[in-house]
Each structure stands twice: as structure tokens, then as C-alpha cells.
Amino acid sequence: MARTTESPAALPRTAPIASTRTTGSPAALVGRLAFRELVRGAIVWGAVFALTLAASVFAYESTYGTAAERAELLRGIGSNSGIRALFGPAREMDTVAGFTAWRTLSLLPLVAGVWGLLVATRLLRGEEDRGRWETILASPLGRARATIATLAAIGAGTGVLFALTTGAVVLTAAVQGGIPVGGGLWLALALCIAAPAFAAVGALTAQIAPTRRAAAALAGAVFGAAYLVRVAADGSSSLGWLRWLTPLGWIEEMRPLTGARPIALLPLLAWIAVLVAASAWIARRRDLGAAALARRDDRPPRHAGLRSAASFSLRESLGGLVGWALAMALTGLIFGFVSKAVADLARTSAGLREHVRSTTSAPIDIASARGYLALVFIFLAVALSLYAASHATAAREEEATGRLDTLLGQPVTRRRWLAGRVLVAATCVAVVALVTGLAAWAGAAAGGAEAGLGDLLKASLNALPVVALFLGLSVLGFAVAPRHTGAIGFGLVGFAYLWEQTGAIVRAPEWVLSISPFHWLALVPAEPFDVSASLAMLAAGATAALVGIELFHRRDLVSA
């Protein structure tokens, strides 16, 4: 954009402009600003995508070496409707390409979609909530163009994700063979395109919902609905046409490495274009700060949870608690429901049993529903650990916004404040764990699996010590490096999980594996509860939390 420094001739110039620095167009500046906010996440997720891809390829080669094993895999997974519903249709499972496509497509587009919608709602409605959008719009940049510049930055972030994923495909294809480069690119595109597809959804909900949280929840609901429609479409052959209704279905219909269908890209591109255009259209027309779904800003007072710092922490945590409990209950229900089907399949498929053995470091037999559920609960423990870490980031948020100054200006000690938050976090995590166990039991019962209520409650309690460990470490991170609370808390959980996963695949020795706390989890309900490991993790978590509280007590408050 050309800069205009000349006043119209008829108007007197107020003052001569001594020098003008060319800084690029405002749209480019806004885009770059947004890109800086998201590029770290894009790189982290890109690394996760790359590792998952490489792990799938190597796991296949090492596990299903013979043609007979591959044929069995094709027969077993391809014919199981429960697996197909959850993880998508399995095609050409007798090739490394087909297996890799199925394994990565079952999970990574979901991750990309959630990432996209969270980033979009944060950078659009979140910035508006914080008043920074107002500063941006004071520049010579319209509301619609500022929105599009931000979305373009998300597009560039997806580019980073895509580049790292592609890099992994090309490298593993070069090392292992079996994956054509063109097909690999198409796979990387299918894995990543959910990010812009659901960022576009987030862009729209950011225009119509009043807060970042509400916008993210609404976009999350759209995502959940799309996932359920996809599950229905894949679960029943008569409902297959439903696949053509949602972005997740279209991504599946891209069929990377298994007879690619370029036509499926068209609805995805149209979806993105229409939603982006609609967001820009609304952004241009609405008042700053306004929202079609705005709640009333006045209401009678609610008195609960205003008495003490700890009860206020609890009050503030309830929204997140309900959201996590619902999401985890749904997850537990689904995995519980399919547990019998998976176990039945494993009983007839030596290949699947071997596959599980090769991708987990634990000697587990998933030919029983209990064995399968024990594995599922490792995954649930990871999710619960992320939830625990989110409590530390919430504490940091309180400090960064200066609200902690307000609280500590009252007769509230730092020790009591942080200890209260840790207790609230521990309680919330325990509640969500129990809800998950209950839901998994209900699902297992509905699916006809032999797993009792006691089994699954034990499994959820078994997850708590490792979660407590990560809660303690996150609190310690908050105390030592407040500005990096999120990176430390979430980073440790992610690192430990990836360590356990990759370690198992490359058959690392026991002492290497045991670096990850998730490796210490007993496989309840398939195995008995490991008292000493649990006590050790609980003690370590409690120590970390106590040291964190003490260090926090001694450090300065640090603003954003």
C-alpha cells in the first residue's frame, strides 16, 4: 500500500514531515504480529505430527513384516465397525502407505482442527476482549481487513505445520520406501487442512460470541458435531453419505495414499472461503466489542464463592471443570463402548496384538476388554495431566493480568493463595478422573465388556498419582519461571508422553523408558495397583508443589 504523506493542496499543512520510515502496509504488520503469537504452537505441533508420522511408518515395517501378517491386519481392522467408526475406514492395510494414512488420519486432523479453532478465537475475540484490537483498529486498517490479515497469519502458521509434516513424510519415505512423494504431500495436506477449516469456524464464532471462551466453546461444539457426524457416517454403511457433509468427512474422502480423490478438496476450500468471507462481512458491520449472542451485562449478584481466596479459586475453576468433565466423560464413554469390540478383534488377530505390543512399552494383552481399557487409561492420564497443568496457567493468568496484585493487596498470604489453588486443582482433577471412570464403565457396560464399576474406578484412581506429579511440577514451574508456566507445564506432559511412545517403538531399554513418569503407571485394571510407584509419584508431586509454594512466597510478582 502506498503511503500518503502529502496533504490535499487546499488544506494548510500542519507541520512538515521530516522523515518517513517505510514500514510496510498495516495489514502486513498486523499479520506479522498475529503470526508471532502462533508460530511457536505451530512448530510444536508440527514436531508432534512429524514424530507420529515417522513412528507409524517404522512401527508398520517392524511389526507387519510378512504378507500374511498384513493380510490379517487388513481383514481384522477393515471388518470391525467399531474401530472404523472411531478411527475411520481402513483401506489397503496391507501396505505401509495405507496403514500410515489410516493411523495418522484417525488422530492428527482432530488435533489440527482443535488447534485451528483455539488459535482463531484467541487471536480474534481474545485480542478484542483484552482491548488490543482497539489499538490495531486505530491504524488505517478496516475491521474486515484486520480480520483477514489475522486469518492469513493462521494460514501461514498452517504452512509451518504442513512444511514440518511434509518434511517427515519425505524423509521417512526416503529411508523406508513405500510412500510416493506426491501421495505423501497429499497426506500431509489432508492431515493439516483441518487447521484452517476450523480456524475459519473459530473466526465466525469470534464474530458472534461475546467472549473468547464463549467463541471457543461454540467452535468446539461445531467441531464435536462434525466429529459425531463423521463417526455415524463411518460406523454404518447406510449412512456413508453423511461423510460429504462435514470438513472431517471431506478430509477422509481425500483418501491420501489409498486412491486419492482431489475432488474432496473443493468443498474444503469452499468451506474456508465462505466462512472467512462471512467473518469479514460481520466484522465490517458490527460494533467493536458487540456480539449477536451477547449475554446481558447486568444480573443480580451470585454470592457463592466470594468469601475467601480459596473458595473464589473454586468458583473461577467451575467453568473449566464442567467442560473437562463433559469432554472426558464422552471420551471415556466411547472407549468403554468399543473395548469389547477391540478385545474380540485382538483375540482373532495376532497382528493387532503384536502391533499393540510394539507401540506400548508395557507387556499388555489387549485380547481382554480390561487390558484394552488399561491402555486407554494411560491416554486418559495424559489428558488429566494437561488439565492439571492448565490450573497452573490459570494461576499465571491471574498474576499476569495484575489481578493477583489486587488479591494480595488484601490480607491474603501468597502461601495460602497458591496452596488454595493447588488444592482446588487437585480436587477438580480427582472429580474429572472419577467422572471419566464412571463414564468408561457405563460405556463398557453398554458395549457388553466384562469390566466392573470397581475396575474402572480403580483405573481412574490409579491415574491420579502421575497427574499429581505433573500438577506439582507445573506449580514449581509457575514459581520459578512465571512467564513460561504454560510451556513448562504442558511441555513436560507432552514430552513425557512422546518419550514413552517413541521409546516403545524404537524398543528403548527400560532405564530410558523409565524417564517418563507415564511409564511408571500400573496397567490397572489389567494389573494390580502399584502401591510403591504411586506413593513415590504422589510424594514427588507434593514435594514439587510445596517447594513451588515456598519459592513463590519468596519471589517478586511478575506482570505480563
Binding site: 476482549d129 449478584p301 475467601s308 494480595l408 491474603v412 498470604t413
Partner: protein
């Protein structure tokens, strides 16, 4: 009068930056102490040290005779604080915010709270997210005054308030002083402090450069004189006490330190048609002390 706030050698460094250097300060019980300085002088750092939110790099701050860093809880039971841009919870209503802050403080005067809500014209059932900075400041001010705490600490408390509410704030401040409450009022707005403070401290670049009553500090500053003449203004070179002479056509303006008699004689000889002089305001006080570089 016992000291409510005592700072001795109070120093705070952030890395290589020294935000506050060797501050010695005493605020006595029952007085309104004005704490003046331009933006970035270290006022907020001082207040955060007094509240025990950050730890002194050297020296100590004592409030009610207790160390601010070691015993903040006991101190905070007896004080209330308001900052320039109070950080509050956007999802709470004003009513809920007052409940929370009053509850954490350990009690408040409910009748006075109601009276303050009416005087500040606050809508208590509105969520904070719908409030402007000024309205959030009202909530924080009400929360502070309603506790009737022995010590009120204000950091730029009226920056967002409209003129009518500023009057209400000054009334409340006067009432607090009558009741015997001690007030620590930090500001870069001179009128705000001039109207209420018994004593002031001037802070500049982390150094406390002056403390005293207004009368004590006025001698440090210059009187400002402006004169207009029929013909050319006189030459004031060499006249004792005169500084900062500016000539603009037939108008002349300057500062005088000490006696104005020699300058007036020189002016009278040149037949002025118009003459104005101003008592030094705090603005001049700052200019005289700091020069124009801040």
C-alpha cells in the same frame, strides 16, 4: 505522631535498571501524604514494595511497624489500596466484586458502602467487562473506602474519573482524614495532591528529591511573571534571581527566585501596560526542580 509508613534506604533494582534508590520516607499517622513524580519515577514500584508484592533489593519498608515483605498479611488487614488501572475480574458484577474484596479484607461498613455506591453513581449489577476504566476505578475506590481501613494507599486513583466523581473522591478523602485515617496518595496530577495533601514528597528517576509541606517547598521554586509593554520590553540581563527570560514581540515572561523587587523596578522603568504574576504551582515546582527534560 507515630509513623505509619517508614522506608529506610529502600531500593529496588530490576536487572540493570534501578527503579528506586535509597528512599527514606516517613508518613505520620493521620496525615495525607502526597507522593509526586512524573511517569516512570518509581511511584508504583514504591507502592508495590510497601504492599510486599516485590522484595526490596536493599533497605526496608515498614508499615504499622511491621516489615512489608515479611508480614504483608497483618499489614493488609489495616490498609486498603487502589491502583490507576485496577485489575479486576471481568465476569463478576460490581456487587460481587465488592463482596469479594470486602470479604477478603475481613469486613466492611455496609451502610457506608451503600452510600458510596450512590455518591459515585455506580451500577452494582453490571459486569466489570462492560465498565470503562473510570467505572472500574469507582469500584476499587468504593472497595477501599468502605473498609474504613486505617491506611489508604492510592496510586493515581482518579486518572479515569470524570470531574464530578473527582469531587466525590476529594470529599471522601477529606472525610477519611477527619476520621483520622492516614492517606498515601501517589500522583503525577499536581492539582489532585495540592487540594488534599498535608505534606508531599517529590520523586524523580527513583530518587526522593524533596519532602515537606507546600509552604516549605515553595521557596525552592520561582515566581512566574508575565508583562506586556507599549514599546520594546526591557533587558533583564544581570538582574538577580531572574531566569528563563522569553521575549515574544512586546510580551516578556520570566521566573524570579527570591525577592522580586529588583525585577519589578526594571519592569516599571519600561512602562508595562499589563502585568501578571502567579504563585508557584506544583507544575512550576517540578519545572524548577527538574527542568524541562522529564
Amino acid at each position: 505522631m507515630p509513623a505509619v509508613i517508614e522506608a529506610s534506604g529502600l531500593t529496588k533494582r530490576f536487572g540493570a535498571t534501578t527503579a528506586l534508590e535509597a528512599l527514606d520516607l516517613e508518613v505520620r499517622q493521620g496525615e495525607v501524604f502526597g507522593f509526586l513524580g512524573p511517569n516512570g519515577a518509581g511511584k508504583t514500584t514504591t507502592i508495590r514494595l510497601l504492599l510486599g508484592l516485590i522484595r526490596p533489593s536493599a533497605g526496608s519498608a515498614r508499615v504499622f511497624g511491621r516489615d512489608a515483605w515479611a508480614q504483608p498479611e497483618a499489614i493488609h488487614r489495616r490498609l486498603a489500596v487502589v491502583t490507576a488501572d485496577p485489575a479486576l475480574w471481568p465476569q463478576l458484577t460490581a456487587h460481587e466484586t465488592l463482596d469479594l474484596l470486602g470479604g477478603l479484607h475481613g469486613g466492611y461498613d455496609a451502610a457506608y458502602r451503600q452510600e458510596l455506591i450512590e455518591r459515585f453513581d455506580l451500577d452494582p449489577d453490571k459486569r466489570l467487562r462492560a465498565f470503562s476504566t473510570g467505572n472500574r476505578q469507582k469500584v476499587a475506590l468504593i472497595a477501599a473506602f468502605m473498609t474504613r481501613a486505617e491506611l489508604l494507599v492510592f496510586d493515581e486513583p482518579t486518572s479515569g474519573l470524570d470531574p464530578l466523581r473527582k469531587v466525590v473522591f476529594r470529599e471522601c478523602l477529606a472525610e477519611a482524614r477527619e476520621r483520622g485515617q492516614t492517606v498515601f496518595l501517589s500522583s503525577h496530577l499536581l492539582v489532585e495532591v495540592e487540594a488534599s495533601a498535608d505534606r508531599v514528597g517529590l520523586l524523580r528517576r527513583g530518587h526522593l528529591v524533596e519532602v515537606g509541606t507546600f509552604d516549605e517547598l515553595r521557596h525552592l521554586s520561582a515566581m512566574r511573571i508575565e508583562a506586556t509593554f507599549e514599546g520594546d520590553p526591557p533587558d533583564l540581563d544581570g538582574i538577580p534571581g531572574v531566569e528563563g527570560v522569553r521575549v515574544d514581540g512586546r510580551r516578556l515572561s520570566f521566573h524570579v527566585h527570591g525577592s522580586v523587587a529588583p525585577a519589578l523596578e526594571a519592569l516599571a522603568a519600561a512602562r508595562p501596560v499589563r502585568l501578571t504574576s502567579r504563585e508557584p504551582s506544583l507544575e512550576d515546582l517540578f519545572l524548577a526542580r527538574y527542568g524541562a527534560d522529564d
